[in-house]
Subunit: 88 residues, 2 copies
Amino acid sequence: MNLLSLFSKKDKSASVAKNRLQILLAHERTGSGPDATLVSKLREDILEVIKKHIEIDPEAVQIEMDRDGEVTTLGIDIELPVKASENA
Amino acid sequence: MNLLSLFSKKDKSASVAKNRLQILLAHERTGSGPDATLVSKLREDILEVIKKHIEIDPEAVQIEMDRDGEVTTLGIDIELPVKASENA
């Protein structure tokens, strides 16, 4: 998956002193079915899943959604709390 | 989010005649805490969330995971069933 390597490289070069979790979601439709809302539906559910595992400050979450022709993309960028032991 | 635009452009140029859902997840740790398994934990949960909304053929799912220093990345690539009405 060449997308993955692209993403990985980009992420490292933009590294800053914060723990982060980034999710990119792309939905590509060849047809014009009613699935355009799939990404919207997934957004809240994925955030719920993440909250099960880690504490998220709602103010530390950035969400961007974009629709361009057949491709709907969703970006979720979350700043994670740095553990007390790492922070000391 | 420049990552998002990169992803979007790449996705369109690689467009093929199939509906797809792609998820890229990157976890970047500044410290060396025990959070390295977060991505593993999220993988199954995110797949469960997707299955709630759409039927997924397990053979149509590709998952790649990579750990490189502070960054753990997960790529999920799912071929979606094209609706009968679009397939006709």
